[in-house]
């Protein structure tokens, strides 16, 4: 026992291995973030760049090649109409990202502004805004989505608004609570003493202190938006034909699952999963890295 306690300092490792060790430590400290960012880059590449590298018309029909497995001509096979699955996947990626990214941004901006207003405004405003928020949160988001999706025509714009509308409340509540916690801190009081307006305090001090939470939740919102759009598309209420999205591709594949077209189901499933994982890992990585400095 005593030997164990009185262990001598370990001999210093040699220089080259120490440098490798440091590099390894550097990477392992940030492994979550690195994997997340790499995956994100991959997903963005699939959506925005890959369609130009693989410029095949996704809507060209090859009746002779309907429902074929992967081949040299069709790397990911074809669907029941004989369309190139890979081209569809890439086009669907663009359609998915073009809707879900702006909707996440919209939800983010609305959520932050709503939360700040509630946290910094007078008590009556806070009560009003929070009860309103409770009302929105009380309804299951999928039901709201289905309700509005059946009312309005589904263009990209309306989808962005719709997805943005269901995603902001949780962030708004988070920002409001954080604002409540931060606004009584001494540095905020000292800034008020200088004659600063609430808007200034929110902009310069509160947003800065909340930055880690905001960034992390922002990335999660992107993941949520992709998921929500895929879910909607899966139900046939998302991106409308002839356009395709990852969700609708998955649906077509599952419709004819009896024929076992694994090449129509696995790829869209994997990219949706990868996109969610990318957003989640990036967020977690950022949290690990910057979350503690508050």
């Amino acid at each position: 026992m005593s030997d164990q306690l009185m262990t001598e300092a370990i001999a210093q490792p040699g220089m080259p291995s120490a440098r490798m060790g440091r590099l390894f430590d550097w990477a392992s400290d940030r492994s979550t973030l690195i994997i997340g960012l790499t995956l994100s880059a991959l997903v963005l590449f699939l959506g925005f760049v890959a369609p130009f590298i693989y410029p095949v018309d996704p809507f060209a029909i090859h009746p002779n090649h309907a429902l074929e497995g992967p081949s040299r001509m069709f790397p990911l096979g074809t669907d029941e109409l004989g369309r190139d699955e890979l081209a569809l996947l890439l086009s669907g990626g663009l359609a998915t990202l073009i809707v879900s990214l702006p909707s996440a941004v919209l939800a983010f901006v609305v959520g932050v502004a709503y939360g700040l207003a509630s946290g910094l405004g007078p008590v009556w405003l806070d009560r009003l805004l929070m009860r309103l928020l409770d009302a929105v949160l009380a309804l299951p988001s999928l039901i709201i989505l289905l309700f509005f999706a059946s009312l309005v025509s589904l263009t990209n714009t309306s989808l962005i608004l719709l997805l943005g509308f269901i995603a902001w409340p949780s962030l708004a509540r988070l920002v409001r609570n954080e604002t409540m916690a931060q606004k009584g801190r001494d540095f905020v009081l000292a800034t008020e003493q200088l004659g600063a307006s609430r808007f200034y305090i929110a902009r310069v001090h509160l947003l800065r202190v909340m930055a880690p939470i905001l960034v992390v939740n922002g990335t999660f919102m992107v993941g949520d938006a992709i998921f929500a759009l895929s879910a909607l598309s899966f139900l046939g209420l998302g991106v409308q034909p002839p356009q395709v999205s990852w969700g609708s591709l998955l649906e077509t594949g599952l419709d004819i699952i009896a024929l076992d077209p694994w090449w129509m189901i696995l790829p869209p499933g994997i990219v949706v999963f990868a996109a969610l994982l990318a957003a989640s890992l990036t967020g977690q990585g950022l949290l690990l890295r910057w979350g503690n400095r508050r």
Binding site: S2, T7, Q193, G195
Partner: protein, 613 residues
């Protein structure tokens, strides 16, 4: 007297970043039966690590070498199961924050019973009897009625008594108290100190008392052991130490404790070295006034010629007296033009109050009428809950109040919104916790530049120039501007907070406990800085503190608050020498006092105890 606890060449290193860092080097000390040894040091001295290593409660990755003898047992040879039998049974421990150390969801009786039954077993009935006995022993009034109360129902001092009762449950041979009085009001701290001193005698128990505050242990400690940056600098009997300190650091530390009526606090220049960058020779050398070239390379051997042993190559003469006797001449202060006038100030807080119950108002301040003269420092003293911080906040217009507060004859409540905003800016604030008062994600230069831009002074000179000037005024290097608040020490952060307040060009600064979160030596430097700034800038201060000595050091006039009312207000000199009110008297008595110049501190005849190398 036999040694109860003996540390032999105890060294401790902790994992920090990627490597192991030595925190404590070759500590030798012993605590005898019935003796109280005060282990004194500032933050980073290794004092807490030394205490925790006795219990082996060190963080993961810590390495201990040397021996820890508890009577005839070497604790370093015990395994974890063996240590569990020692903790609580042979060695009791009291922590700094009793609220954190007690379980909020269980009654105090259950917690004391638990401490007893873990080692003694037995029925709950017996244990409950023991708990009752202990609560009475630590001086909790009506112990039988309080057994089933929860920790939050006790005041801070009473909670600490409960904690002490718990640590005594198994009648330990040794009690380790880690800053048990820090954070308590001075009056309460004194009572806790006296309690520990009494219990040690009654139980013939050794006490290892860890503290950063020399003035706390002056009255009761038998032996002193001073640590600096992980090494012992001076040790010996308390009488010898307080009478004739030998090590320059001890002298400086004694001189930087604020005492009632003191003329000038001693500055210790520089900062405590980080464990990674401790000097090679004497660790205090870079900050020492008596430094010689050899100090920087040689590890000083202990000099044992005096009443205490001092690890110094050039210790102070054996009969040297610390230069802390200078008493300031305080006549009635000169007439000053009133600047801030407060009349019939009342602050109500609503407490309780939920959806279905009416909030009941609570008068935090009750009919306060005061004025602050131009260039004056008004000290506001009181215990926690006296309303002193509320008073500061009302002056700062941070909270609502009744009555009137006017600056240069202009009543805040009669001004329009823009006028109010401008007038409010003329009063600035420095808070207690410097880390809280700086935005942790803003660079220091931006923190200081913010008020400059906001008051429209950016046009006068380049902002960077103004920031550098302000940093210079508070004694900091302009390079520090590039750092974030988390990268600087507590004392530096507080200087930055002062620079930020100055940047707004205020006429009055409210100082709300500006030094109570800081180490003693840092506190002294900061108080001196504030004094100098007031003289050069014609500033007025409202200094709020629970520490009477600090207030008396700074203030021209002192207001004593108790339960929201003014108990006494007078010139600082008059309050110190002739307090009129009993409460004031108690506060003055609880504060560290100057030693009368003619009081004798005889050289002890017995040998140096407490430690041997």
């Amino acid at each position: 007297m036999s040694a109860m606890l003996r540390l032999e060449n105890l060294s401790v290193s902790l994992t920090r970043g990627r490597g192991n860092v030595a925190i404590l080097d070759e500590l030798n000390l012993s605590v005898n039966r019935g003796e109280m040894l005060a282990l004194v040091g500032e933050s980073g001295s290794g004092k807490t690590i030394a205490a925790l290593s006795v219990m082996r409660l060190l963080p993961k990755g810590a390495k201990i070498s040397g021996h820890i003898w508890l009577e005839d047992d070497d604790l370093t040879l015990k395994d974890e199961a063996g240590m569990r039998k020692v903790r609580g049974r042979d060695v009791g421990m009291v922590f700094q924050n009793p609220l954190a150390a007690l379980n909020p969801s269980r009654t105090v009786s259950l917690q004391i019973e638990e401490a007893w039954r873990i080692h003694n077993g037995g029925s709950q009935k017996v244990a409950r009897g023991r708990a009752l006995e202990l609560l009475g022993e630590v001086g909790i009034p009506n112990p039988a009625g309080r057994l089933d109360d929860y920790p939050h129902q006790f005041s801070g001092g009473m909670r600490q008594r409960v904690m002490i009762a718990m640590s005594l449950a198994c009648s330990p041979k040794l009690l380790i108290a880690d800053e048990p009085t820090t954070g308590l009001d001075p009056l309460v701290a004194r009572q806790i100190m006296a309690l520990i001193a009494r219990l040690r005698r009654e139980h013939d128990m050794g006490v290892l008392f860890v503290t950063h505050d020399l003035s706390v242990v002056e009255e009761h400690a038998d032996a002193i052991h001073v640590l600096y940056a992980g090494r012992s600098v001076e040790w010996g009997t308390a009488r010898g130490f307080f009478g004739h300190p030998r090590h320059p650091y001890s002298e400086a530390l004694l001189g930087s404790v604020a005492r009632v009526g003191q003329a000038r606090l001693q500055n210790i220049p520089g900062n405590l070295p980080e464990p990674e960058s401790r000097p090679q020779g004497c660790r205090f050398a870079p900050r020492c006034d008596y430094r010689q070239p050899e100090c920087e390379v040689l590890l000083p051997p202990p000099d044992t010629n005096g009443a205490t042993a001092a690890a110094c190559l050039f210790p102070l003469p054996v009969n040297a007296r610390p230069d802390i006797f200078a008493m300031v001449e305080q006549g009635p202060s000169a007439f000053r033009k009133p600047q801030l006038e407060i009349t019939h100030l009342v602050v109500n807080y609503a407490s309780g109050g939920g959806l279905f119950s009416r909030a009941k108002p609570f008068k935090a301040l009750n009919d306060i009428t005061l004025s602050l003269g131009q260039g004056e420092c008004l000290g506001v003293v009181g215990e926690s809950g006296s309303g002193k911080s509320t008073f500061g906040r009302a002056v700062l217009q941070m909270i609502g109040y009744e009555g009137s507060i006017s600056l240069d004859g202009k009543d805040f409540s009669k001004l329009g919104r823009p006028g109010r905003r401008v007038q409010r800016r003329r009063i600035q604030v420095v808070f207690q916790d410097p880390r809280e008062s700086l935005n942790p994600r803003m660079r220091i230069k931006d923190i200081i530049a913010e008020p400059i831009r906001m008051i429209g002074a950016a046009g006068k000179a380049p902002v960077a120039q103004q920031v550098a000037n302000l940093l210079g005024r508070v004694g900091l290097n302009p390079e520090i501007g590039e750092l974030l608040p988390g990268d600087v020490s507590g004392g530096q952060a507080q200087r930055i907070a002062i620079a930020r307040a100055l940047a707004a060009e205020p006429e009055i600064i409210v100082l709300d406990e500006p030094t109570s979160a800081l180490d003693v030596s840092t506190q002294a430097m900061l108080l001196n800085l504030l004094k100098d700034l007031a003289i050069e800038g014609g500033l007025s201060y409202i200094l709020i503190s629970h520490d009477f000595a600090v207030v008396s050091y700074m203030a021209d006039r002192i207001v004593v608050l108790n339960a929201g009312r003014v108990v006494e207000v007078n010139d600082a000199g008059s309050i110190i020498t002739a307090p009129q009110n009993d409460y004031t008297k108690a506060l003055v008595d609880a504060a560290p006092q100057l030693r009368a110049p003619n009081r004798e501190y005889p050289l002890p005849t017995q040998n140096v105890t407490g430690s041997a190398i």
